[in-house]
């Protein structure tokens, strides 16, 4: 499946640094969004390392094929490209973890990551953290990823108390670079022409509700206009965090 993709990242109105990173690689049809955190100044280092490591690993896989070994355990239910994608996320986890351990200035850094690899008739997604991937089809918005945040955990368990949300939103329960090993969620979805995939960091979700995201996709039509507009909405709502939005439209 062909895609038309566009991404935008913005520092927002409150933060001193943009710790988000994203990559769009049209050649291997890969989208990656990462939201860095922690250390004294290294959130941006972690997110940049994450997106670049994944891209480089996937490029190696596409050029050298099966000779590249898969890192970590293989999920037999998932496709090969999904397993490759998850393995490249595990690799970037190891690299960030080792860097954080060995360089004092990078101690404590970590990042979320969402990788989307588009293939013939669908997409494989590898996911860690609280950035999100949405599928928009037939005027319906569907969040494909599960938030690995304390807020997400409480929602899942149904124990979230009203008003607690904002405080828990920033606490990640799974991230890249904080442990020697990390579990990577694999999600696979079919895709049809006309579908939109929206990947974003939580700077968007803190301010813009899902209903506005859906509305914007419906009104704006092109990935560029959607991504630009969603980041503008996040900033108009206070720009409390860095915001990154990557939008891809599927074409025949």
């Amino acid at each position: 499946m062909r895609m038309d993709a566009y991404g935008r990242t913005d520092i927002g109105k409150v933060r001193k640094r943009n710790e988000d990173s994203f990559i769009i690689d049209p050649e291997i049809r890969l989208l990656v969004v990462a939201d860095g955190m922690g250390g004294h100044s290294s959130g941006d280092v972690a997110s940049r390392m994450a997106v670049e490591t994944v891209r480089d690993a996937m490029k190696r896989f596409f050029s050298d094929g099966a000779r590249v070994p898969i890192l970590g355990k293989v999920d037999p239910k998932a496709s090969e490209s999904a397993n490759r994608l998850a393995a490249s996320v595990r690799l970037s986890n190891q690299i960030i973890y080792e860097t954080a351990r060995s360089k004092p200035q990078h101690q404590g850094m970590g990042t979320t990551i969402d990788c989307v690899l588009i293939h013939q008739d669908g997409a494989a997604i590898a996911h860690v953290g609280d950035s999100r991937v949405y599928l928009v089809r037939n005027d319906a918005l569907n969040q494909l990823t599960e938030d690995h945040s304390l807020l997400g955990e409480q929602k899942k368990q149904g124990t979230l108390a009203a008003g607690e949300g904002a405080r828990l939103q920033n606490i990640l329960t799974r991230a890249l670079g904080v442990d020697a090993d990390t579990e990577v969620d694999i999600i696979e979805t079919d895709l049809r022409p006309g579908d939109f995939l929206v990947a974003c960091t939580d700077g968007l979700n803190k301010v813009v509700p899902d209903s506005r995201i859906l509305e914007t996709v419906g009104q704006m039509k092109t990935p560029k206009m959607i991504a630009e507009h969603l980041v503008d909405l996040a900033n108009a709502g206070g720009g409390v965090d860095n915001t990154t939005v990557v939008v891809a439209r599927m074409e025949k």
Binding site: E153, T159, L160, A161, A162, I171, T182, G237
Partner: protein, 240 residues
């Protein structure tokens, strides 16, 4: 003093301290807090202080009163609770030092709720900013505490401690149920404070950690064995 903040969409309209034991909210000017909006009923709802818990009570309003995203008739409030009235929201700020979020919960669920004893020190999470020196708005990573029941499981044997306070006891209203003929309704509580976990003895001296009775509270480390009644559990940390 507890207070409420009235917002329209995200703009703050008004801040009001809760001085008395009742505060009425509605469209008509005779309310303590008047909201001049056609979707607000004349006398829409009120905030009441009962015991040391504040409640929100709907006064049979046309469009209803929300707590979080649930429509309520009456419910307990805790710090940062958000009340929804048509397009307005009211945020309840409870800055009383002794307030315990869990109590409001228990009281809201059922009037006959388990009485959580008042003795143990409040497990109120400090606003993380001051405690850890970092802004609460910055993204950070924390492992979730969890308990694995090794002996005397009642219903499930794995519990994630994602809440600020998780109660352990024989009562049906606690999150972690235990065995034991003489076990108390509520024996202990595990508090989560900026990523660290503390076991608070509700019945003093009853819970044991690594074989030692806990009189007041004790911080938990990975691998600690908690013994309450005839149920044994091991504490560990995990990623989601």
């Amino acid at each position: 003093m507890p207070k409420i903040i009235l917002k329209f969409e995200s703009a703050v309209i008004k801040e009001l301290p809760l001085t008395g034991s009742v505060l009425t909210i509605g469209r008509k000017p005779d309310n303590d807090l008047a909201i001049d909006h056609p979707a607000v009923s004349g006398h829409h709802c009120r905030i009441l202080l009962q015991g040391d818990i504040y409640f929100i009570e709907d006064l049979n309003s046309t469009n209803g009163t929300l707590l979080g995203d649930k429509k309520i008739i009456k419910a307990g409030l805790k710090d940062q609770s958000v009340i929804g009235i048509a397009k307005h929201t009211i945020t309840f700020i409870d800055d009383r030092p002794a307030c315990r979020p869990a109590r409001a919960d228990a009281a809201a669920g059922a009037p006959e709720a388990v009485r959580i004893p008042t003795a143990p020190p409040p497990p109120r999470p400090s606003p993380d900013a001051t405690a850890s020196g970092t802004s609460p708005n910055l993204k950070r990573f924390e492992k979730i505490g969890a308990l694995r029941v090794t002996e005397g499981a009642v219903d499930q044997s794995d519990f994630s401690l994602t809440e600020n306070s998780t109660y352990i006891g024989k009562s049906d209203r606690v999150a972690i149920k235990i065995k034991g003929l003489m076990a108390p309704e509520v024996a202990a509580m595990i508090a989560r404070k900026s990523g660290a976990y503390v076991l608070v003895a509700i019945k003093e001296g009853y819970p044991k950690v690594n074989g030692l009775s806990v009189d007041k509270e004790r911080s938990l480390n990975e691998g600690d064995v908690i013994e309450v009644g005839s149920t044994k559990m091991q504490f560990y940390l995990k990623s989601a």
